[in-house]
């Protein structure tokens, strides 16, 4: 299938999926006990029946639920996800503000986990009884069993009390202002601990996966061919074996992207990172349903985009999935 056709099909299906996600959550929110109007009234410090009716009219809550859903869908197609009860601002604006930090956090963590995990796995595969292999075995157990928020808290304790060289909260230092490089360095400085925390779980998994996958690839016939050509070992391992061994790692990374966002919610909370996760938590605790719905929609879209990127990466890695030139 040509790349264009593939992308067009995937895009159409993605839009359908997102509409389904919205429908499901819309129904859930309307089906749940409790009146959104009361939440809004509560935000305003209480209101009488007349004001409540006015609120319902303003937010369209007085209309039948299917009609509300239809309106929501039409509006979201035009980029309007409603108005936040909590912040009285367009949900889209709130999300756009928080999307960048979350993507930065998640992408950095994923990249760290994949690169370090793969390198560890490669090292371990070349010498099964080496230190790297022991590190992977311990890391994969500890990385899985440690609650990610606890890992974050331990790092906060370490860098907050013992070794205060890294910031433990937020994304920016208010005392630092300037532009360009200064801001970027400041953000990167704040990013270190959250990204490290989030990547640890996956680093453990990917290193284990990469080790298994490398061991398998190193035993194949084409690696023997590469050696018989007289290629140096580095070329055999990093050129001929690694590209093949990466495929399972990429597959798993793609499948787990949703979990990565779940982890980000916890990590953002620990490090007060101003991303979608903290926005979601505040919105959920404040019963701010338009924002909740918006964040769910946005994170589903993120997962879909990540899956598409995974497929593209896979096609790049494995020419067997591409068409004939």
């Amino acid at each position: 299938m040509s790349l264009f056709l593939l992308l067009a099909k995937r895009l159409a299906y993605a839009l359908l999926l997102i509409a389904a996600v919205q429908a499901m959550n819309f129904t859930l929110i309307r089906a749940a006990p409790g009146d959104p109007a009361e939440v809004i009234a509560g935000e305003m410090g209480g209101a009488d029946e007349a004001v409540m009716a006015q609120i319902r009219a303003t937010y369209g809550l007085d209309q039948p639920v299917p009609l509300q859903y239809a309106r929501y869908i039409v509006h979201s197609l035009t980029g309007d996800l409603g108005t936040s009860y909590l912040y009285s601002r367009p949900v889209v604006d709130l999300i756009l503000e928080r999307l960048g930090p979350t993507v930065l956090l998640v992408a950095t963590a994923l990249l760290l986990a994949m690169v370090i995990g793969t390198l560890l796995g490669v090292a371990a595969s070349r010498r099964p009884d080496s230190a790297a292999s022991g590190v992977i075995t311990v890391l994969s157990l500890v990385g899985y069993a440690m609650p990610v928020f606890w890992t974050g808290i331990l790092l906060v304790l370490l860098f907050g009390k013992v070794l205060p060289i890294l910031p433990i909260a937020g994304m920016r230092d208010v005392r630092i202002y300037g532009d360009g490089w200064v801001v970027m360095l400041d953000v990167l400085h704040h990013l270190v601990l959250p990204a490290l925390t989030l990547s640890l779980v996956y680093l453990a998994q990917y290193s284990r996966l990469a080790r298994a996958s490398m061991l398998e690839v190193l035993g194949t016939d084409y690696i023997r061919t590469a050696r018989a050509k007289g290629l140096p070992e580095s070329s055999v391992v990093y050129k001929h074996a690694l590209r093949n061994a990466l495929m399972p790692v990429v597959t798993v990374a793609g499948l787990q992207f949703g979990n990565l966002i779940s982890g980000a919610v916890l990590v953002e909370t620990v490090f007060s990172w101003p991303g979608l996760g903290t926005l979601a938590l505040d919105a959920i605790l404040g019963r701010d349903y338009p924002t909740v719905l918006g964040v769910l929609t946005c994170s589903a879209a993120l997962v879909i985009v990540a899956n598409l990127l995974t497929d593209l990466a896979y096609r790049w890695l494995d020419p067997r999935l591409r068409g004939r030139r």
Partner: protein, 299 residues
Amino acid sequence: MSAFPDSAPSPDTAAAEAARSPGREAWRVFRRNKAALLGLALLGLVALVMLLGPTLYPVDPFGLASQPFTEPFTNAAVPLGSDYLGRDILAGIAVGGRATVTVGLAAAAITVLIGVTVGALAGYFQGWADELLTRLTELFQVLPSLLFAMVLVTLFSPSLTVVTLAIGAVSWTTTARLARAEFMRLRRLEYVNAVRAMGAGPLRLMLREVLPNALPPLIVSATLIVGTAILFEAGLSFLGLSDPNVMSWGLMIGANRAYILDCWWAVTFPGLAIFVTVLGVSLVGDGLNDAFNPRLHQR
């Protein structure tokens, strides 16, 4: 260490017991695995704390037992110190495992139940049923599970039952994929056709013939699911989205989140308890994996 393995009346021993009749060999392999036995010992310890903790240390975990921020090992009244309100950390540890582990186990059971049902139906019937269920699986897969569970819990009042159901409702997709693949593979096998030819109905075929053979990989993945569900419960409690009237390890950490730097003990000890529990589950899971697939070392 020899005293530990038999003293652990945990569900994982139960799983190992269940495997004994068809897999005496598997149990033999498992027993020789030192890491798995360590896992079993850790689980035994957790089970002891869960069962006897509140009896041996009958202190109200919500009660104000001492001055706030009492350091651990300094005051005999609160051996592990007190949190920012003066609540006894040891009391929380003693009772907090009940909610975490119970919710984890029940949620894992629901996860497996939904996942196997969906996967079995899709894999066994194929055709439009498969198509429909696969699309449903995809719908749940694009929603980050914790985020979705957070919403569900909030919509339907945060009681332990709701938390359990929510975790189950958002976690089943991986199991469904695995079960679907297994059922698709097994339904094509000769012996299933033979039983079908003898006039057995689909329900009987699925439950009596296919399911037992699909069990080993499902049991192994179920231990992973238990670990993940425990972490899930801890995460929700940490965010303050679980039942605020039931003490749990995650809740203890979440409550003291704002005071991390002032009372490290209030966040470190409950975390350690979660860590030990999940480590035990995962070591046992690895042991089961090796026992069922002696030739597959990785994964």
